[in-house]
């Protein structure tokens, strides 16, 4: 019963969070100077009438309050609106861009989690040795590198070996399944690697810190005294007990997967959601921005909710 209360409270909190975030987003985007009309009305053959026509079409001639009510009504009906820029449903635009983004960012994030966890465990286990110094300093080195710079360096290093832009080679002649998969894999490698390298340092530090804490516990000393193998101690006793902070970080990272990676998508010309959001900001495409941030909000809130529920499983102290 106590567990059910906990779950219901977390879900209610998540719903309120989404509503508040949606409302803040509505206001925030409209604070930026200028509207989509000032850009879109400036095409070579346009007349003055275009500005008025666009304002009316986008509903920007209405008060902010009216716009907010219309936005909420549409949202309740599952309608994210029409993009100002390409006049297509926001849901369709987001779906395409999300499908493009997910593999690249997911691979990069998973890579960073795996490498970060591994190096964090090694650094903690080999505390005070040159191994720790090397793993921590290289993790910090990558973590502090500007993402776009690292991406450009990888482009220069792998020029001619791996593709430097786009998601696929659209000019392949009738590729079979495996050829297509290989092509996609070669395109996704550099952007995912860039993302993974930039992100893994964060995991290294968190895992190292959590592991150091658990490695100092009495039960670890007992395990060592019992003659258990180091790997068994790490896997069965230390890492499991260090999982709480790691779970939080993993959940947060996975929540942000849908946000894409603006810099990486720009450097590698990846047609993902990060670039789309950046373009939408420049164009003041409110429906696209609202849609993308709604998606991000829901994703982050849901992942946090999952993390909360995992806590419930991982740490019985929460319910006692």
């Amino acid at each position: 019963m106590r567990g059910t209360d906990y779950v219901l409270k977390r879900i209610a909190f998540a719903i309120v969070t989404v509503f508040v975030a949606v409302s803040i987003n509505f206001v925030l985007f409209r604070l930026a100077p200028g509207t989509a009309v000032s850009n879109l009305s400036r095409v070579p053959h346009a007349t003055q009438q275009l500005r008025h026509a666009l304002e009316k079409q986008f509903g920007l001639d209405k008060s902010k309050g009216e716009q907010y009510v219309i936005f909420l009504k549409q949202l309740v009906h599952g309608n994210l609106g029409i993009s100002y820029e390409n006049e297509q449903p926001v849901a369709t635009n987001l779906r395409i861009e999300l499908i493009n983004t997910l593999p690249m960012v997911t691979l990069g994030t998973v890579f960073s989690i795996l490498i970060g966890t591994l190096t964090g465990v090694i650094a903690a286990w080999r505390r005070g040795t040159p191994t720790e110094a090397v793993t921590v300093s290289s993790a910090l080195g990558f973590y502090s590198m500007p993402t776009h710079w690292l991406g450009l360096m990888l482009i220069i290093i792998f020029a001619g070996t791996l593709p430097t832009g786009g998601m696929t080679n659209e000019f392949l002649l009738n590729p079979g399944f495996w050829q297509h998969l290989k092509d996609l894999g070669s395109h996704v490698l550099l952007p995912s690697l860039t993302l993974g390298l930039v992100l893994y340092g964060e995991y290294t530090l968190i895992v190292r810190s959590a592991m150091l804490e658990t490695l100092g516990e009495d039960y670890i000393l007992t395990a060592r005294a019992k003659g258990l193998k180091p790997w068994t101690i790490i896997r069965k006793h230390a890492l499991r007990n260090a999982m709480l902070p790691i779970t939080t970080l993993v959940a947060l990272s996975l929540g942000y997967v849908v946000a894409g990676a603006i810099l990486i998508e720009t450097v590698f010309s990846w047609p993902g959601i990060g670039r789309a959001v950046y373009e939408a900001v420049l164009q003041r495409d409110y429906p696209m921005l609202q849609g993308a941030f709604l998606l991000l909000t829901i994703s982050v809130v849901v992942c946090n909710l999952i993390a909360d529920l995992l806590y419930f499983k991982l740490d019985p102290r929460i319910t006692t």
């Binding site: 100077p33 200028g34 509207t35 000032s38 850009n39 879109l40 400036r42 095409v43 070579p44 053959h45 346009a46 007349t47 003055q48 009438q49 275009l50 500005r51 008025h52 026509a53 666009l54 009316k56 079409q57 820029e85 390409n86 006049e87 297509q88 635009n93 395409i96 499908i99 493009n100 997910l102 593999p103 691979l107 482009i155 020029a159 593709p163 430097t164 832009g165 786009g166 696929t168 659209e170 000019f171 392949l172 002649l173 009738n174 590729p175 297509h180 998969l181 092509d183 996609l184 894999g185 720009t266 450097v267 590698f268 010309s269 047609p271 789309a276 373009e279 420049l282 164009q283 003041r284």
Partner: protein, 547 residues
């Protein structure tokens, strides 16, 4: 357990990757080959009533029929219209169109499609078709008495070159497709996605399109004009110039539409053909010329503007910012825009700080603390708005700022994204009270009408970024549209340039070159002032072929 987990991860990654790419990949093997062109811009919409980017309009040039195109000397030449003539009173124009033409879906393409497109644009010009309203201005209606005759009736006698200029940019849409999507008051014309494969009737069919990624065009076997030599061409969009140039060097691309000046030497050394031609883009220094301007009214003084003009070291800008790949500008119409429109009698203002100082001294604007002059009791210290999307401007600004300091004028950079920049310049009510100076760029068309229009009073709140408003100039603008002969129009166009040269709403900074690069294994790829992938004609991609 561990193996199962790893396998699941690999499978999930593979499935994600494949799901993404499964949306579209693969193309047919062809004898004429596929020409792969890289671009930094890209197509933003396949709907001509929505599209904004030049690449979109260039794509329409190859997909839709157009009445008239430019020839290689930038003279008007037949395209879907094989011939044309005006009535005696000049108010009615008759175009004889291509017989036996077909749309890519096999339906007949006739003059009725052209008449329908013109009349539809007229009908909804205050709403759905407002972005092409300028192309049908002065037109009363259009009729198609038979399949190969189009008659366009004007409200008043237009200038012949104005008419031809209008129809060189006018895409004819298939009535049988678009008439189904009118919706309420034509609103459906804008929401119709016009997804690939697009029904068109140009030398190529646009068969596949992925936003922000790629557009693939296939040779149109039912095209009524000269057939392209290649079978396909693809337009691959890059958001990073370095990655695009690297892709070209790795032969993942065959050509790049526009390369940065910094890569010209490297590409030439790597064996690519780099073609550098005079372009249509000019960067400018904008002086708020609003006659009702409230602050810093000294900026309306023509002598102050003249002094500023002499304080700009254009040779240094061309040499440092563009590494020589730019020209010295002089007027609002660049030298590469059309034949004879550029007023050659107007010369680039000299860089003469002594003269600039002398002019300002003569106006009584003495230097105060910090060496900054004082005009009308206030420091000559100004914010310069700079849009962040014009890459050459930050470096150009530093050069201008340094020289202006030598004439006692302080400039401070205010970088904004282009939407915010225009919003600050025009103001929320389009009163143009919120700025003094700015820097931006203009890309001219071949016909001078557009560039000359941006400084008319009618463009306040539209294209105007200088707030210049002068009734004498506006009268000349209308006259050039209605001039009876091209020679008469040219005379007025030259006069208008001279008028702007004197009143200086813009101080022109540099006229960028258009630089393209292509692999040596291709021939027939020619650069133009508007780039190789342009709205001028269909010449480049119908002539390009493998060596």
């Amino acid at each position: 357990m561990r193996k199962r987990w790893l396998a699941a991860l690999l499978l999930t990654s593979g499935a994600l990757i494949f799901a993404t790419g499964a949306i579209g990949s693969g193309s047919k093997s062809t004898s004429g080959g596929t020409f792969r062109l890289g671009t930094a811009s890209g197509i933003d919409s396949l709907n001509p009533y929505v599209a904004f980017n030049q690449d979109a309009y260039s794509a329409f040039e190859y997909v839709y029929p157009i009445l008239i195109q430019y020839d290689s000397h930038l003279h008007y030449a037949p395209f879907f219209a094989r011939s044309w003539h005006a009535s005696k009173d000049g108010k009615s124009w008759t175009f004889k169109t291509q017989p036996n033409a077909k749309w890519s879906d096999g339906k007949p393409l006739t003059a009725a499609d052209a008449a329908w497109t013109i009349n539809t644009d007229l009908k909804y010009k205050s709403g759905a078709t407002a972005n092409v309203a300028g192309l049908v201005s002065h037109i009363n209606n259009a009729k198609a008495p038979n399949a190969t005759t189009l008659v366009v009736n004007y409200a008043q006698r237009p200038s012949p070159s104005y008419v031809l200029g209008q129809f060189q940019q006018f895409f004819i849409l298939p009535k049988h497709i678009w008439a189904q999507h009118l919706g309420k008051k034509g609103a459906g014309l804008k929401t119709f996605p016009n997804n690939a494969p697009v029904v068109g009737s140009g030398p190529f069919n646009l068969v596949r399109f992925k936003m922000n990624d790629v557009a693939l065009f296939q040779r149109n076997s039912s095209y009524w004009g000269p057939k392209p030599k290649i079978d396909e061409f693809g337009l691959q969009q890059y958001s990073n110039d370095d990655a695009m140039v690297t892709a070209l060097k790795a032969h993942d691309l065959d050509a790049v539409e526009s390369v940065p000046a910094t890569t010209m030497k490297t590409l030439r050394n790597a064996g690519f053909v780099v073609e550098d031609v005079k372009g249509l883009d000019q960067t400018d220094f904008i002086i708020n010329s609003n006659p009702k301007k409230k602050h810093h009214r000294e900026l309306l003084n023509l002598k102050v503007k003249e002094a500023f003009d002499h304080a700009i070291d254009r040779k240094k800008i061309v040499s440092v910012v563009y590494l020589g790949a730019a020209q010295l500008p002089s007027t609002i119409i660049p030298a590469s825009a059309g034949v004879g429109w550029h007023n050659t009698s107007l010369k680039t203002p000299s860089f003469d700080l002594k003269l600039a100082n002398k002019i300002l001294d003569g106006l009584g604007y003495k230097k105060g603390p910090g060496g900054i002059r004082v005009a009308n009791g206030k420091k000559m210290s100004y914010e310069v708005i700079i849009p962040t999307d014009v890459q050459s401007l930050p470096r150009t600004f530093l050069i201008v700022q340094s020289d202006f300091a030598k004439i006692g004028v302080q400039l401070k950079q205010k970088a904004l994204d282009s939407t915010a920049a225009f919003n600050q310049m025009a103001g929320s009510n389009y009163t143009y009270q919120g700025f003094d100076l700015a820097m931006w760029d203009w890309t001219a068309l071949i016909d001078p009408d557009f560039m000359l229009s941006v400084v008319t009073c009618a463009q306040w709140g539209g294209w105007s970024d200088s707030a210049f408003c002068d009734k004498k100039y506006d009268r000349m603008y209308s006259q050039q549209q209605l001039a009876a002969t091209p020679a008469k129009r040219r005379q007025i166009v030259w006069k208008m340039q001279a008028y702007l040269y004197k009143h200086r709403p813009y101080l022109w900074l540099a006229n960028d070159d258009q630089v393209s690069a292509v692999s040596k294994s291709w021939a027939g790829f020619k650069n133009t002032p508007q780039g190789p992938f342009n709205e001028l004609n269909i010449s480049v991609l119908t002539h390009v072929h493998q060596k």
